[in-house]
């Protein structure tokens, strides 16, 4: 890339760019259905399938859980091909943006970022987990991922009745909140028809309430427990978009950790690892924007360096950030 173009990209005001990108993605994935946009049903982020008319494609977790809950003879027989093609499509979508899907495209993530900016405007402090809580809670998403596989398989095997179908979707705040954006309050219910649905829809509603408060107080609250993020991480090795760190240039000033929504310590403390994206990361790239050391943190798409930390870019963003917010009060 010519150096002038590179300088322009490195000096980008990431906050503004990401805000508009997320807004566009939100409109696409929540209202795309009205424009007859249909990107299939293997999307790697929460374009919720319950938002019947508006959705531009279905989040892969819904069809995955349906396919897995087919009776075993079918599932491990001819229906298995359906599962594999579904996963292959999901994988192809995923490797393009890696976990950038969470940071830039996911409507639920965007919703949480909007809640965060609302809190910021109201002048309310955000909360942090602290290292101990972080280390314990980072496992929850893998537990949820395992349950999301096991429960449908149990249904297929006849161990659980069909009321447990699509278990994660029933407790996911996305199912309850995203359809509200297309004026469809159908999901705001507790289903008493059986134990399974009662427990799951009850949990779903409670978690929706918890989600609203959590996302308001803690930045990207739900992404910390999201099984999709866990699934992403398991298959993130061959992805094209990568977050790279050069330990030698790092002065361990901790700026990247300071701005990280997900409160990841490894970004600042780990000097050996080159591919620095951890399981919690959403590739929102705020760390690269906050790094003053040229070339210490950079984003590569198929090994082409598309955005990297530069001193000039850092100063421009800091001055703008200061000026931008200072005039508010």
């Amino acid at each position: 890339m010519t150096s002038r173009l590179r300088r322009a990209v490195d000096n980008v005001d990431l906050q503004r760019f990401r805000f508009w990108f997320q807004a566009a993605a939100f409109v696409l994935f929540v209202y795309g259905g009205y424009l007859a946009v249909d990107l299939g049903n293997s999307l790697p982020m929460f374009s919720c399938g319950y938002n019947q008319e508006g959705r531009a494609g279905v989040c892969y977790l819904l069809p995955l859980q349906h396919q897995l809950s087919r009776p075993w003879p079918q599932l491990f027989g001819w229906a298995g091909i359906g599962v594999l093609t579904g996963f292959a499509t999901f994988f192809l979508w995923f490797i393009v943006l890696n976990k950038g899907w969470c940071g830039f495209m996911c409507p639920l993530g965007t919703l949480q970022d909007w809640l965060t900016s609302l809190r910021k405007r109201l002048g309310i402090r955000y909360s942090l987990y602290g290292e101990q809580a972080f280390n314990r809670l980072t496992w929850v998403k893998f537990v949820l991922l395992a349950l999301m596989f096991l429960i449908p398989l149990a249904i297929g095997g006849g161990l659980l009745s069909h009321d447990w179908g699509a278990p994660f979707c029933q407790i996911c705040p996305g199912r309850v909140i995203l359809p509200l954006f297309t004026a469809d309050p159908l999901q705001l219910t507790i289903d008493y028809s059986s134990i399974g649905t009662l427990v799951l829809t009850g949990l779903g509603m409670f978690i929706a309430g918890l989600f609203l408060v959590g996302a308001f107080i803690k930045k990207r609250f739900f992404c910390f427990f999201c099984p999709m993020s866990a699934l992403h991480y398991l298959i993130s090795k061959p992805a094209l978009l990568k977050l790279k760190k050069d330990g030698d240039k790092c002065t361990k000033c901790g700026n990247c950790f300071n701005v990280c929504d997900m409160e990841i310590r490894a970004i600042a403390d780990d000097l050996e690892r080159k591919d620095i994206m951890t399981d919690d990361c959403t590739l929102c790239l705020k760390c690269v924007a906050a790094c003053p050391e040229p070339g210490a943190l950079k984003v590569e798409f198929a090994r082409i360096n598309i955005f990297q930390a530069t001193e000039e870019g850092f100063l421009k963003r800091m001055n703008k950030g200061a000026g931008h917010d200072a005039c508010k009060r």
């Binding site: 955000y126 700026n255 850092f314 800091m318 001055n319 200061a322 009060r329």
Partner: protein
């Protein structure tokens, strides 16, 4: 050349001014092509250190700082003015000696000596309403009590000795927040987002200017001598922030022209030296002066009177006062390579990084006799540099000028060994 009012000065100021004058004259006169923009700094030191002129300071309360680990932005934000009290005068070193044990850090002795002179102490910044004394190195920590004896209001800023752990980080954030509350009591002004934001903008402008200067020193042939940069950063201790930043920006502009013209400030093939260790504070620029007199050039430094004080810049994610104060606390703790921490691998990595970026040929490691932390780190830093094939000269000195003879011999020998090594490497195919 005796300044007009020297006889009216009380006797003890006389010797202090003499010492500063000898050093400043050496710094200015022995080098032919000093940048024009340095005139501001030479004149500043002449007025403050030699004529003993009182600095015109804003009427706001003065807050003295004995270390870089004091968040200046908070002081500016509550409307006070910070001044760094670390002192380099051998004269004050002798006065301070009767507070401290024989073999102890000259810098702390000099600082105590200067504080002993109350308002008459040079640089004259008037009455100090509060002195902030972070519990970084031991001798400075203990000196806090002595300052209280002298009648100063001392705030002991609790600083952790470990920086990797979560507990240390929280402990430091709490003590910085507590410090901010004390500052608010001192000036009666509340810490608001707007004031803190403006304060950070001022220091950020200063840091940006310093970084430009820092990056210019990577030029080979080098465009500015190390002694000038030390003067510039030493001026940051007491000078008005805006005036200092303008002067540095002017200097940077001039140096950019020099770089374009390919001007060489040092001799041809002068060995490029990285200076680290105890902070050189005017008038004790003895070691850098000796290096550059012997034909070397100090291209980079890793000391808390220059690079470590101004290099790393804070970032703020959300512009709310609480998070701004916390990120300031993080910014002072996490990147710091001060030897008072338990581990010094950050410092070793930083030194190797600087050597690589600035293509330094050798490292001069200054340790004030009695400063155990720097003396003890000499071993590990030496090992790391040795493995990287970079020669290091370890110098244990103090503020007295009487070992300049011996030091110059050592430094000359060190520079000569670097020159012969470079010539040999150049002769034998120049492999690194």
């Amino acid at each position: 050349m005796t300044p007009a009012n020297v006889d009216t000065l009380p006797f003890n100021r006389g010797r202090q001014a003499r010492e500063a004058e000898v050093m400043l004259d050496k710094l200015v006169d022995e080098f032919t092509d000093n940048p024009a923009a340095m005139a501001y700094f030479y004149d500043l030191f002449r007025r403050v250190y030699i004529q003993g002129e009182a600095l015109e300071r804003p009427a706001a309360p003065q807050v003295g700082m004995t270390c870089i680990q004091v968040p200046e932005e908070l002081i500016y934000a509550v409307g006070a003015t910070p001044v760094r009290l670390c002192n380099g005068a051998y004269h004050y070193d002798q006065i301070g000696a009767d507070f401290m044990p024989a073999k102890s850090c000259s810098l702390v002795k000099a600082t105590l000596g200067r504080l002993q002179d109350q308002e008459m102490g040079v640089p004259r910044v008037g009455k100090l309403d509060m002195i902030v004394n972070p519990s970084t190195c031991d001798q400075k920590k203990k000196a806090g009590a002595m300052m209280e004896e002298m009648g100063y209001a001392v705030h002991h800023l609790e600083f952790p000795n470990v920086k990797e752990s979560e507990a240390a980080r929280i402990y430091w954030q709490r003590s910085v927040r507590d410090f901010a509350v004390q500052l608010q009591k001192l000036t009666g002004k509340r810490l608001t987002r707007k004031r803190l934001n403006q304060a950070m903008a001022r220091t950020r402008r200063a840091q940006t200017a310093f970084r430009a200067l820092h990056n210019l020193r990577k030029q080979a042939p080098s465009v500015v001598l190390g002694k000038d940069v030390f003067l510039v950063t030493n001026a940051y201790f007491f000078d008005d922030l805006e005036r200092w930043t303008d002067a540095v920006e002017a200097l940077v502009a001039e140096l950019k022209e020099r770089a374009a013209a390919g001007f060489n400030a040092a001799q041809r093939k002068a060995p490029r030296i990285l200076f680290t260790g105890s902070p050189p504070v005017f008038p004790n620029l003895k070691l850098p002066l000796l290096i550059e007199e012997a034909g070397g050039v100090v291209v980079a430094d890793e000391t808390c009177s220059a690079n470590r004080m101004l290099y790393d810049m804070p970032v703020v994610d959300e512009w709310l006062v609480n998070h701004m104060v916390d990120s300031l606390a993080d910014h002072y703790l996490k990147p710091c390579t001060c030897p008072i921490f338990t581990r010094n691998d950050d410092r070793c990595r930083r030194l190797l990084d600087l050597v690589r970026d600035f293509e330094a040929d050798g490292v001069v490691y200054q340790a004030y006799s009695g400063c155990q932390v720097y003396e003890m780190e000499q071993r590990s830093v030496g090992k790391v540099l040795n493995e990287a094939g970079i020669p290091m000269l370890y110098v244990e000195t103090d503020y007295s000028p009487d070992d300049m003879g011996q030091l110059s011999t050592r430094i000359e020998a060190f520079l000569e060994s670097i020159k012969t090594r470079k010539r040999q490497r150049a002769a034998s195919g120049g492999q690194a």
